[in-house]
């Protein structure tokens, strides 16, 4: 269990001060947990604090009974941590098996035979056994991500933190990756940070939405979806003018009879042809962000 209380993180001082986290409160249990939010919301900062890389300015973080605000606590958490950062750097001249083996050594896996067995196991889990002895520099983006998750798993972590893991992956890789994460969440806490709403909807039963360093929603994907009930419409128009009046266009589709807009907002009473539709998770997210006063750029 992860307990986060009034967590604040500031970067810089004076006029250059940026508040990345602003009194964030959150409790995360075992299983798959999604962290959703726009770019710059503070997700990566939160991930890095949980990984013991970044220090909080104030507030407390407790990971499985370990206080992460102390140096000793950070070291303890790192022993039970698997971490896949957003920007994954590797040694291109190493093979996949060498890279994961090296990370295993850094994580304290001493026994060479046991370590080798564990390295083989995790490479097999991510489907890289056939390419284990190829140099990383020849890997595709998806394969590199898989090496990244293999190194994160090599110490059999109780807490797995993955930051934007599906960014840049093709649809097939994304599906494979999501399924892998769900499998891993059976017996550990997996914290998935992303701005891709679909990834959360497909994998998490529990999620939080962060905006401007604060939690603005905590619940299930279904609850987030239902928050937009009565606030989503389809409108088909053959004029060039896009709908406005405080409505956010979530998607556009060019049809034979005109352009179909999917819109989220308080009211569509200005458009008599607008048809109310069932909301999806993305609609719920857009509605939430609108209510939080977060500007959403549309086409």
């Amino acid at each position: 269990m992860i307990k986060i209380n009034t967590l604040t993180k500031n970067y810089g001082t004076g006029a250059k001060k940026v508040q990345a986290l602003n009194g964030l409160d959150l409790v995360i249990g075992q299983g798959m947990f999604g962290l959703l939010g726009p770019n710059g919301a503070g997700k990566t900062t939160l991930m890095r604090i949980l990984a013991g890389i970044v220090n909080a300015s104030s507030g407390s973080v407790n990971v499985g009974g370990i206080d992460i605000n102390t140096e000793a606590g950070k070291m303890e958490v790192k022993k039970i941590l698997g971490y896949l950062p957003q920007e994954l750097g590797m040694y291109p001249e190493l093979t996949a098996v060498q890279f994961v083996d090296y990370m295993a050594i850094l994580k304290g896996l001493e026994n060479p035979a046991e370590r080798r067995k564990r390295v083989d196991t995790v490479l097999n889990m991510v489907g890289l056994s056939d390419n284990a002895n190829r140099k990383i520099k020849g890997f595709s983006g998806g394969m590199k991500r898989r090496v990244g998750i293999a190194q994160a798993l090599v110490n059999d972590p109780k807490l797995l933190i993955v930051d934007e893991p599906t960014a840049g992956l093709d649809p097939e890789e994304r599906i494979r990756f999501r399924n892998l994460l769900v499998n891993l969440a059976a017996d550990r806490t997996v914290l998935l940070s992303t701005h891709i709403v679909e990834d959360i909807g497909q994998t998490c039963r529990d999620l939080a939405v962060i905006s401007r360093g604060q939690v603005i929603f905590r619940g299930s994907p279904t609850e987030l979806t239902q928050a937009a009930a009565g606030h989503v419409w389809n409108l088909t128009s053959n004029t060039m003018e896009k709908p406005d009046h405080g409505l956010t266009i979530v998607s556009m589709l060019h049809l034979a009879e005109g352009t179909q807009y999917r819109m989220v907002g308080e009211s569509a009473s200005d458009y008599i042809d607008a048809q109310p539709v069932q909301p999806g998770l993305e609609d719920g997210y857009v509605w939430l962000m609108k209510n939080a006063g977060h500007a959403i750029d549309t086409l």
Binding site: R48, I53, V54, K78, P85, G89, G108
Partner: protein, 220 residues
């Protein structure tokens, strides 16, 4: 717990950090061979040991920590800062030492004479002390500025100023901080004090680097 591997320390070592010292080593060997029967031979030998080895080591040390492509992953492991420093700086020192020792052997074989240093131990101290000093300067400055290039520039600046003004340094209070005293002025009466001071500064800078590296968020 074992969190260090010589094998991977070498495998994750950037090849350009090996080719550059090797190329310069070969260049100086070549120049020495051309000058083997002239009085210039020992000047070339001293230049390599006194100036080139420390400068290269200092610049490589400046780039050794922050240019690690897997720095964020490394930070997420329970490996203490001192291990990272020893792994990265140790390797640079070992490689530079190997070149320095090979070079001494080459000079001896072609007729060079290091007797001005009075003993093998003093000869080794003559390049080890400046090498360690500039390595620690480069490493600590790059960590302090969170920028490898600034660390390398500081090394270059100190090296250049002390090399040009070594006469002035040797005759004033700066004699304790002159990194070239060992190799270029082996008879200086304050050589021992100079070595002790530079070693103390190097040790302090190592501790400073360790403290700086523990502030991981400054580097990601």
């Amino acid at each position: 717990m074992k969190r260090f591997s010589i094998k991977y320390a070498f495998k994750t070592y950037k090849l350009d950090q090996l080719w550059l010292p090797l190329a310069i080593f070969l260049l100086f060997v070549l120049i020495s061979l051309f000058q083997m029967d002239t009085p210039q031979l020992m000047n070339i030998a001293r230049s390599y040991l006194a100036a080139v080895v420390p400068l290269l080591a200092g610049i490589l040390a400046a780039y050794s920590i922050l240019e690690d492509p897997a720095l964020e992953l490394r930070f997420a492991t329970p490996i203490p800062a001192i291990r990272t420093l020893i792994e990265r700086l140790g390797l640079i020192f070992i490689i530079q030492s190997a070149f320095a020792l090979f070079f001494q052997a080459v000079i001896k074989i072609i007729g060079g004479d290091f007797s001005m240093y009075q003993s093998v131990w003093r000869l080794q101290l003559a390049w080890i002390i400046p090498t360690l000093s500039l390595m620690m300067l480069g490493c600590s400055c790059s960590l302090l500025a969170a920028n490898s290039t600034i660390g390398a520039l500081m090394v270059g600046m100190v090296w250049l100023v002390e090399l040009i003004a070594r006469g002035w340094f040797a005759q004033n209070f700066g004699k304790y901080f002159l990194v070239f005293m060992g190799p270029l002025m082996p008879d200086h009466p304050d050589l021992f004090a100079n070595h002790v001071t530079l070693f103390a500064i190097s040790s302090t800078l190592f501790l400073v680097s360790m403290a700086l590296l523990e502030q991981q968020e400054r580097y990601i």
